[in-house]
C-alpha cells in the first residue's frame, strides 16, 4: 500500500499531531463560522461535527452569506448513566448555547445541536465540568461503550456495567489535545504516545457494547465488538465475544452492506480488556485505510476470514478463546414504564420520541425532566433506543415522579401506541450533512398513518419495530428493524422488511425509492395478511420470512442478493 493510496482522512490524522490539527486557529478565525476543512475531520475525535442548517442553504447562498454553520456536540456517557445534576448542566448548556433541545442517541449518548463556533469551547468546557466529556464520542476510535441501561435490575447487570466502564476508559485515546484545546490544559504539542491506537488511530469508527440476554436492547450484532453476558448458576461467568457487526452502506454500491456480528468465541471476564485491545489492534493494522467505505472491521473480517481474525486476536491477546456458550434474545426494544429492581427501588422507562427532548405544545419533555431532575435523587439512564430511564426511585418518591410526568404531559400512556414505542429515527434534516431524506421530522407523522392501518387490520396492539434513517449509514439501525426505511431522496425511501424482532436477522429490500403512499399501500396489504395468517404470537418480521414475502438474511454479504421490489412483481 503506497502513501498515495491512503485516504485524505488518513493523511489528515497522520499530520494532526495527535488530533490537534489547526483547530485552535479555526476557532479563532472570525471570518467564517466553519472550521478549516481538515479540522472538520479531526473535530469528530473531539466529539463534534460541523453541520449547517440545510433548510437555509440555498437561501443563504443567494444572500451571499456562507451556510448557517453550527455544530453537533456529542457527550460520551459510558453505559448511559447521568446524574440529575449532570442532566441539569446539559439542559442549561442546551438552552444557552444550543437549540434548546437535547437529543438522546441510539448509543446512550446525548447530543446538543446548533452550537455556533464561538460557543463551542464554552459548551465543551461546560460538559466537562459536569464530569462528562466529548472526547472520542465520534471519530475513528472506539465510541461510547454501550451496556444494558438498567444495571440495578440484577447483580449481573451491575457487573456488566462495571466491565463496560472499564473498557470505555481503557480504549479512550491518550492524546492531550482535547485538554489543551478545550480545557486549557498544559501544552504537550503532540509528543505524547497513543499506546493502543498509534498515530493514525483506527481506519474507521469502532463501536463496542455489552448485553445481558434475553434483552438485546443494545443491538449487539450491529457492533464492531460485542460482549454477550453468559450467566451460569446465577452468576456472571464470562462473555461470548461478537465481532464485525455494522450498519453502514452506500446506495448503489453492492460492495458495502450492513452486517451482523459473528460470535467469535467465549472469554472470561478478566480477559475482556486483552481481547478488546487485540480486536482493536488487529483492525488498526489490517483495516482498509485506502477506502473509507470499506474500512470498518466487518470488511476486514469478510476479506480475511473469521478464522484468520480469531487467530490474530488470540495471538495478540495471549488468550485462547473457548467455544461460545448458549444464549438467546427475545427483543431489541425497551421495556417501558415502572420496573422494580431486586433492591426494592423503582425505575421508569420514559418514551422519548426519536430521542428528542424538547418542549412541544402540551408535551413539555424538557421542562418535565428539569423538574424531575430537581426532585430526583437517583440517576437518569439513557437507553440504546433513544429513551430515558428515571432510575433508582424510592417507593416514597414514585408517586411524585408520576405526578411530574403527568403534569408535563409526558407519561408514556399519553404519548404512544406500540408501533411508536418501537420506533427510532436518526436526526437527518436539517442539520445532518449526510441526510438524503427527512427522518426525525417525518417519522412521527408516518406512524400516525401506519397506526391507522394497523387498527384497520385489527393489529392495534401489535408491537412492530420500525426505524428510519435519512441516509444508508444506519445510525438508527434500520437494517435490524422489522420495518426499516432508509432515505434515498426527498420523500423517497428504500423499505427493508423481515428483520428479527430481537435484532438477530437483517431485513431485505422490499420497496425501492418509494414515496409515502407506496409505503402505506404495501404495508396495508402486509398488515392485512399478517392479521389473517399469522401463527399465535408470531412477529411481523418472522411472518414475512415464513410466508416468503422476503428472504431470511443473516449474512451481510447476502444483503443485496436478488433485490425484491414488490411493485415490479
Amino acid at each position: 500500500m503506497t502513501e498515495e493510496q491512503l485516504t485524505q482522512v488518513e493523511r489528515i490524522k497522520a499530520n494532526s499531531r495527535h488530533l490537534r490539527g489547526t483547530i485552535v486557529d479555526s476557532l479563532a478565525d472570525p471570518l467564517t463560522g466553519a472550521l478549516a476543512e481538515d479540522d472538520t475531520q479531526l473535530s469528530k475525535f473531539h466529539g463534534f461535527y460541523q453541520q449547517d442548517d440545510r433548510d437555509l442553504r440555498s437561501e443563504r447562498k443567494r444572500q451571499r452569506l456562507e451556510p448557517a454553520y453550527s455544530f453537533m456536540i456529542r457527550a460520551r456517557v459510558p453505559a448511559g448513566v447521568c446524574s440529575p445534576d449532570q442532566w441539569l448542566t446539559i439542559d442549561a448548556l442546551a438552552s444557552r448555547y444550543a437549540n434548546g433541545t437535547i437529543r438522546l442517541t441510539t448509543r446512550q449518548a446525548i447530543q446538543l445541536h446548533g452550537v455556533i463556533k464561538r460557543d463551542l469551547k464554552k459548551t465543551i468546557a461546560g460538559i466537562n465540568e459536569s464530569m462528562l466529556d466529548t472526547l472520542a464520542a465520534c471519530g475513528d476510535v472506539n465510541r461510547n461503550v454501550m451496556a444494558p441501561p438498567l444495571p440495578a435490575l440484577s447483580a449481573i447487570h451491575r457487573q456488566v456495567q462495571a466491565d463496560a466502564e472499564t473498557l470505555s476508559a481503557h480504549l479512550t485515546p491518550a492524546t492531550r489535545a482535547y485538554h489543551e484545546i478545550w480545557l486549557d490544559g498544559e501544552k504537550l504539542d503532540g509528543k505524547e504516545v497513543e499506546p493502543i491506537y498509534g498515530d493514525t488511530y483506527l481506519p474507521r469508527k469502532f463501536k463496542a457494547a455489552f448485553v445481558v440476554p434475553p434483552m438485546n436492547d443494545v443491538d449487539v450484532f450491529t457492533q464492531d465488538l460485542g460482549f454477550i453476558a453468559i450467566v451460569e448458576h446465577g452468576k456472571l461467568a464470562g462473555y461470548n465475544v461478537t465481532v464485525g457487526g455494522g450498519m453502514g452502506m452506500s446506495h448503489g454500491e453492492p460492495g458495502t452492506y450492513p452486517r451482523l456480528g459473528d460470535v467469535l468465541g467465549y472469554c472470561e471476564r478478566d480477559q475482556v480488556l486483552a481481547v478488546s485491545e487485540a480486536v482493536v489492534a488487529t483492525q488498526r493494522d489490517y483495516g482498509d485505510r485506502t477506502n473509507r467505505k470499506h474500512a470498518r472491521l466487518k470488511y476486514t473480517i469478510d476479506d480475511r476470514g473469521l478464522d484468520w481474525f480469531r487467530g490474530e486476536v488470540e495471538s495478540r491477546s495471549g488468550t485462547r478463546l473457548k467455544d461460545s456458550r448458549q444464549f438467546s434474545f427475545v427483543a431489541n426494544g425497551d421495556v417501558y414504564g415502572w420496573q422494580e429492581s431486586d433492591d426494592g427501588r423503582w425505575h421508569y422507562t420514559l418514551f422519548v420520541q426519536n430521542g428528542r427532548v424538547l418542549d412541544a405544545g402540551d408535551r413539555e419533555m424538557l421542562s418535565g425532566l428539569r423538574a424531575i431532575a430537581a426532585a430526583h435523587d437517583g440517576e437518569f439512564r439513557f437507553t440504546p433506543n433513544q429513551n430515558l430511564i428515571i432510575s433508582n426511585v424510592s417507593q416514597a418518591q414514585k408517586s411524585r415522579i408520576d405526578e411530574l410526568l403527568a403534569a408535563h404531559g409526558i407519561a408514556n400512556e399519553a404519548q404512544a401506541t406500540p408501533l411508536r414505542l418501537h420506533s427510532l429515527a436518526c436526526v437527518a434534516m436539517p442539520t445532518c450533512g449526510l441526510a438524503m431524506a427527512e427522518s426525525e421530522r417525518y417519522l412521527p407523522s408516518l406512524i400516525d398513518r401506519l397506526d391507522a392501518e394497523l387498527e384497520a387490520a385489527g393489529l392495534a396492539g401489535e408491537a412492530i419495530t420500525i426505524r428510519m434513517t435519512g441516509c444508508p449509514n444506519g445510525c438508527a439501525r434500520p437494517y435490524v428493524a422489522e420495518i426499516g426505511l432508509v432515505g434515498k431522496g426527498p420523500g423517497r425511501y428504500n423499505m427493508y422488511l423481515g428483520a428479527g424482532f430481537a435484532g438477530d436477522r437483517l431485513g431485505s429490500l422490499f420497496l425501492e425509492n418509494a414515496n409515502e403512499d407506496e409505503i402505506i399501500a404495501a404495508l396495508r396489504e402486509l398488515f392485512r395478511r399478517h392479521s389473517a395468517q399469522r401463527r399465535p404470537g408470531e412477529r411481523f418480521g418472522n411472518f414475512l420470512v415464513r410466508t416468503g414475502v422476503v428472504r431470511s438474511v443473516r449474512n451481510g454479504r447476502d444483503f443485496h442478493d436478488g433485490p425484491v421490489d414488490a411493485r415490479t412483481k
Binding site: 472570525p30 471570518l31 467564517t32 463560522g33 443563504r60 444572500q63 451571499r64 452569506l65 456562507e66 464561538r118
Partner: protein
C-alpha cells in the same frame, strides 16, 4: 450641431462676419467641423484671447468644496461656460487650493456645500479652518460671490457657505453677488446664480465680453439628473440573513444602452418615489383624493402624483417647520424655532418626518396649500457597489431598507422602500451617475489601501476590490467591516471569503456589535491592530472611510488619531495634524453621509 449659428451665446460678430463664417463651414462633415472648431479655438488661444485679457491680469477663480459631488458639478459647469466665453478661468477643488493664494486673486467664486450639521465638506475643511482663523490676511482687493449648497433637512444647512461669505466680507473683500443658498433641489437656483455670474463678469473683470470659444459640442452623457436612465433591474436580493433586524438589498441594474459609465467610488442617483402607504396616510389627513388636482411649480398634476413623485414627504426641513408654525400659530413648534433651541431643533428634525409634524400639530389645511409647503422630491444617492470592469454594463447597489416604528406609527424611507416593495426583476429604476472624484482608487495600483466601511458603507469597497482585482493591482487591500451580527449581517461574506482566498483581499477585520455582551465596532478593531495600520500608513497606504457620518466617521477618525499618536509617539494634536496632512495629500478620503 448643424450650423455655427446654433452656438449658445450671441456671438461678438457683426452679421456679415457671422455669415462669412457660416459659409466657410457649410457642408462640412461632423468630423471636419470638429477639426475646424479645434483649429479656430487654437487661433483664439494664440491670437484673440491675449487681446482680451483684462488689464492687471484680472481673472476668475472658481473654487468648490463638495461632499457628494453636487458642488463640483455646479462649479465645473460654470467654469466650462466662462471658459467657453473666453474669460480667463481657473477651477480648483478647495482641497487642492492654497488658501494663501487668495491674496493674489481678483475674483473668486465659491461653490461650497455643508456637511451634516453645519460642518464643511472634507475637501473644504482646511480652507475653512484657515479662512476663519486669525491667520487669514486682509483681502481688500478681492471680489467674490458664494453659492452655498445644503440639505434643509439639517438645521444649519448652508452653514459653511454662510460662514465663508460673512468672513470674506469681514476680511475686506467685495461681495459682488449676495449669497445664494440651495437645498437638495439646487438645479434652478444654481443655474440662475451662474447666469448672474456670467452676466456680471465683464464688469467685475473690467473687460468687454470676449470672443466666445467656438468648438464642437462634446458628446454629453445623454442621461443625467435631468434625464435619468430607466435601468432594468436584474436582481433585487435581500442579503441579510433570516433573523437579521435589518433588510439590506443587493440590487443589480443594467446600464446597457444608456451610455452611462462610472468609476469605483462614484454614486448612483436614484429617483425616489414616496411609499404608497405614506401617501395614503397623507391623503387621509388632508381628507383629499389622490385624483384631486394641484399646482406644483407651474404644472397641474393630480395630488397622488404630487405626493408620490414630485414632493418630499418623508424628510422634514426647517422651512417646512417654520411654515407650519406660521399656520398653526404659537405652539411648542414655535418655541423650538426660536433662537437658542438649536440642538433641540436638530434632534427634532432628525426624528420627525413631515407626517409626524402634521400629526402632532394638526392644522386645517387644504391640499394645495399643503403641497406648496413641500420641497421638491430629491433623488437619493447610493455609493456604487460594483467595479465597472468586473461588471460591464451593470451597476450594483447596496441598499439598507429604512423601515421603522416611531410615535406609534410605521415609517418608511423613500427610495429604499420603493426598491424593497415595488421593484422586482424586470422593473426599472430611474438612475444617473454622480461622479465622486474625491473618492477614487489610487492611480498607482501598487499603493496599499485600507478600507473602513461598516454596514452599507462597505458598498464602494466591493467596487474597489473588484476593480483592483481586474486591474491586477499589486497594492494590498485591507478591509474593516462591521455590523450587528456575524450570522446574518456579514454583507457579501461569501465574496470577501473568495477574495481572501484568491488574493484579491489581503486582510479583513470584522466587528460585530451584538455578538457579545460588550459592543465592538470597527474603530475598536483599528485600535486593536494599530501597529499594522500605522505600518501600512508609513508604507504609503491610502485610507478610505465610507458610511455613517454622525458617529462612525468621527469614531474612526478618533481611532486613527490614536493610532498615529501611539506609534508616531506624538501627542493627539500632532497626530491630528498628521491626519490632516494625509487628508490634504489625498491619502485619507471619506464618503460619509
Amino acid at each position: 450641431m448643424s450650423t455655427l449659428a446654433a452656438s449658445s451665446t450671441s456671438p461678438p460678430l457683426a452679421d456679415d462676419q457671422l455669415k462669412r463664417v457660416s459659409q466657410a463651414v457649410a457642408g462640412l462633415t461632423p468630423v471636419q467641423l470638429q477639426w475646424v472648431s479645434g483649429y479656430i479655438a487654437g487661433l483664439g488661444a494664440s491670437a484673440m484671447i491675449p487681446s482680451s485679457i483684462p488689464e492687471a491680469g484680472r481673472s476668475l477663480t472658481i473654487l468648490y468644496g463638495s461632499q457628494t459631488g453636487n458642488g463640483e458639478r455646479v462649479a465645473g459647469a460654470l467654469a466650462k461656460r466662462t471658459d467657453d466665453l473666453g474669460f480667463p478661468t481657473a477651477l480648483y477643488s478647495l482641497a487642492d487650493y492654497r488658501p494663501a493664494s487668495l491674496k493674489r486673486e481678483s475674483l473668486v467664486v465659491l461653490v461650497v456645500s455643508t456637511h451634516g450639521e453645519g460642518d464643511p465638506p472634507d475637501d473644504a475643511e482646511l480652507f475653512h479652518e484657515y479662512l476663519l482663523s486669525g491667520r487669514a490676511p486682509r483681502l481688500t482687493d478681492l471680489s467674490y460671490a458664494v453659492l452655498a449648497l445644503g440639505d434643509s433637512t439639517y438645521v444649519n444647512f448652508c452653514q459653511t457657505g454662510r460662514e465663508l461669505d460673512a468672513r470674506l466680507e469681514e476680511l475686506g473683500a467685495n461681495r459682488v453677488l449676495p449669497i445664494v443658498e440651495c437645498d437638495l433641489d439646487y438645479d434652478e437656483a444654481a443655474s440662475s446664480w451662474s447666469d448672474g455670474i456670467v452676466a456680471g463678469l465683464p464688469d467685475w473683470l473690467d473687460v468687454a465680453p470676449p470672443a466666445p470659444r467656438l468648438h464642437a459640442v462634446e458628446t454629453a452623457a445623454r442621461h443625467g439628473k435631468d434625464n435619468p436612465f430607466a435601468a432594468p433591474v436584474l436582481l433585487n436580493q435581500k442579503i441579510t440573513g433570516g433573523t437579521s433586524t435589518k433588510d439590506v438589498r443587493h440590487v443589480e441594474l443594467s446600464l446597457d444602452g444608456s451610455g452611462l459609465s462610472y468609476e469605483p467610488g462614484d454614486s448612483l442617483g436614484v429617483v425616489a418615489r414616496n411609499p404608497r402607504q405614506l401617501v395614503a396616510q397623507v391623503l387621509d389627513i388632508l381628507g383629499a383624493s389622490e385624483k384631486d388636482e394641484v399646482l406644483v411649480g407651474n404644472e397641474t398634476v393630480t395630488l397622488g402624483e404630487a405626493l408620490t413623485n414630485r414632493l418630499e414627504i418623508t424628510a422634514c426641513n426647517q422651512g417646512f417647520l417654520r411654515a407650519w408654525r406660521d399656520i398653526r400659530g404659537a405652539s411648542e413648534l414655535g418655541k423650538l424655532l426660536e433662537d437658542g433651541h438649536q440642538e433641540a431643533l436638530v434632534e427634532f428634525l432628525h426624528k420627525h418626518q413631515v407626517i409626524d409634524v402634521v400629526r402632532r400639530f394638526p392644522v386645517d389645511i387644504d391640499a394645495q396649500h399643503f403641497v406648496s409647503l413641500l420641497r421638491k422630491l430629491s433623488p437619493r444617492s447610493y455609493s456604487i457597489a460594483s467595479g465597472p470592469s468586473a461588471n460591464p454594463g451593470e451597476v450594483h447597489l447596496t441598499v439598507a431598507v429604512v423601515q421603522y416604528a416611531a410615535f406609534g406609527q410605521d415609517h418608511w424611507g423613500a427610495a429604499s422602500t420603493h426598491i424593497a416593495d415595488r421593484v422586482d426583476e424586470g422593473d426599472t429604476l430611474s438612475v444617473f451617475v454622480e461622479p465622486n472624484s474625491r473618492f477614487r482608487l489610487p492611480a498607482d495600483g501598487n499603493t496599499d489601501i485600507i478600507m473602513i466601511g461598516p454596514g452599507t458603507g462597505v458598498a464602494p469597497f466591493r467596487a474597489f476590490v473588484e476593480e483592483r482585482v481586474e486591474q491586477g493591482a499589486r497594492g494590498r487591500n485591507w478591509l474593516f467591516f462591521g455590523d450587528r451580527t456575524f450570522s446574518d449581517d456579514f454583507l457579501y461574506q461569501l465574496e470577501w471569503q473568495r477574495h481572501l482566498k484568491r488574493g484579491g483581499l489581503h486582510r479583513l477585520d470584522v466587528a460585530f456589535s451584538r455578538d457579545q455582551d460588550n459592543k465592538i465596532y470597527v474603530q475598536d478593531r483599528i485600535r486593536e491592530h494599530s501597529a499594522e495600520v500605522f505600518d501600512w500608513l508609513e508604507q504609503g497606504a491610502v485610507i478610505y472611510v465610507c458610511g455613517d457620518a454622525k458617529r462612525m466617521a468621527c469614531d474612526v477618525n478618533d481611532a486613527l488619531v490614536d493610532v498615529i499618536a501611539q506609534h508616531a509617539e506624538v501627542d493627539r494634536e500632532a497626530a491630528q495634524a498628521r491626519l490632516a496632512e494625509l487628508r490634504r495629500e489625498g491619502r485619507y478620503r471619506r464618503d460619509v453621509y
